[in-house]
Symmetry: C2
DNA sequence: CTAATAGTGTCTCTGAGACACTATTTG
DNA sequence: CAAATAGTGTCTCAGAGACACTATTAG
């Protein structure tokens, strides 16, 4: 890593782009912003000495008024001609936030697996695809690791969330049996709805059993 | 992504480092080079307009005489002070090559899961750990995707390879039943060894069944 | 023949998936 | 009471894992 001095070569610009995913009753959504090249993911250039995750944070607060998310590196997009402004590498990040914590004026685009999603500028559609894969992989191993649900929730709410994340219905009884052992009861029950009240649970950090991972991966 | 012009900020140096993994009778090994800061992964700085994978290729041919590998992005290491020469981001890559294709003078270090592996410079030990995770994940889904074995092989050779990759013994009969359906027979058998000759197989691109993935992930 | 290795028949046990039943609420 | 939703008992079926048996070579 010392073939030449650090200063001998021109350096690329380094950017970050963030696919912020969320879920509401329509399903899986991604936050987009309206830029000069059409719809795009929020992003920014890396400032001197800054860490990528800090730049991602800055991009979100600047462009979408979002804060305090945790980011996952997805992939570095490095095609030399991917940005007509010059040589720009971009580190794609994934993040997930509950819909309720988004500003009301944010633009959301539905993610559906069948549409190639050519509606995003640059290579951002591919980034979204990476973000969804990453989200699904993480949700298959832990219970709602990105805390899209509040601290306490019922199994029904959890199942609806997972159905949105994976884009398909999940069997009620099997789902319950697979996830409860990675949950902790609050002892309380939901009230108000029709029907028998549902037990209210909390996340524990526990790994989901292998069977749950298999159900969700399949 | 256009808060300022491209030229307004100082830019980081971007490097690539490659963890080349291989397997021999000692188990899983990684290629290292002896640099000014001690043992390190082969790496280089990104040249203007170059793709990361091309830089990785160049690093390997320059530093270790290796060529024609396929790389997998692992993670971008971006701690501002990770390199005392200045602000250097490094994209860690993983690759895997059969031991027979390595030059004879290459330095190999054994990877064993219990040693924290503080023997590598920079943050390279962590990169190796990422590379192993990535290799295991890929090998759990496909049969020897990095072609560490030659085109034709027996189930025994394949099992020995997987035992090295996962660092634990695998049950002979279950392993066979899980992998054969993702293999294609050549019709021929191995000769020479003691005992009944083993059928010789070829890879197909087929995905391994879910059971195999579970066995290996567990 | 024996030794050695390859490959399979088969049993058991776990657990996913389906279905239907019970449990507990509202109105 | 009926309707609605939560949660469970239970059956079946598939498949992993273990074990031992058969198959095919060398010597």
């Amino acid at each position: 890593m010392n073939d030449k001095s650090l200063t001998d070569y021109p350096r690329p610009s380094v950017a970050v782009d963030v696919a912020v995913l969320t879920v509401d009753d329509r399903g899986l959504l991604v936050v987009v912003v309206d830029g000069p090249r059409g719809l795009a993911l929020p992003g920014t250039f890396l400032h001197p000495g800054e860490r990528l995750s800090d730049a991602a944070d800055r991009a979100l607060s600047t462009k979408a008024g979002l804060t305090g998310t945790d980011f996952h590196q997805l992939a570095m997009f490095d095609a030399p001609d991917r940005d007509d402004r010059g040589w720009v590498l971009s580190m794609a990040h994934g993040a997930a936030l509950p819909a309720g914590r988004l500003p009301h004026d944010v633009r959301l685009v539905r993610i559906d697996d069948r549409s190639p999603g050519e509606l995003l500028a640059f290579d951002h559609a591919e980034m979204v695809s990476h973000a969804v894969d990453d989200l699904r992989a993480r949700y298959a191993r832990h219970v709602d690791p990105s805390e899209l649900l509040p601290e306490e929730f019922t199994v029904l709410e959890l199942r609806r969330l997972y159905e949105a994340v994976y884009g398909r219905p999940l069997p009620k009884d099997t789902f319950r049996r697979l996830v409860v052992e990675a949950l902790e009861t609050t002892g309380r029950s939901s009230s108000g709805g029709a029907g028998r009240p549902a037990e209210i649970f909390r996340r524990t950090g526990t790994e989901l059993p292998a069977g749950a991972t298999a159900l969700l991966a399949g």
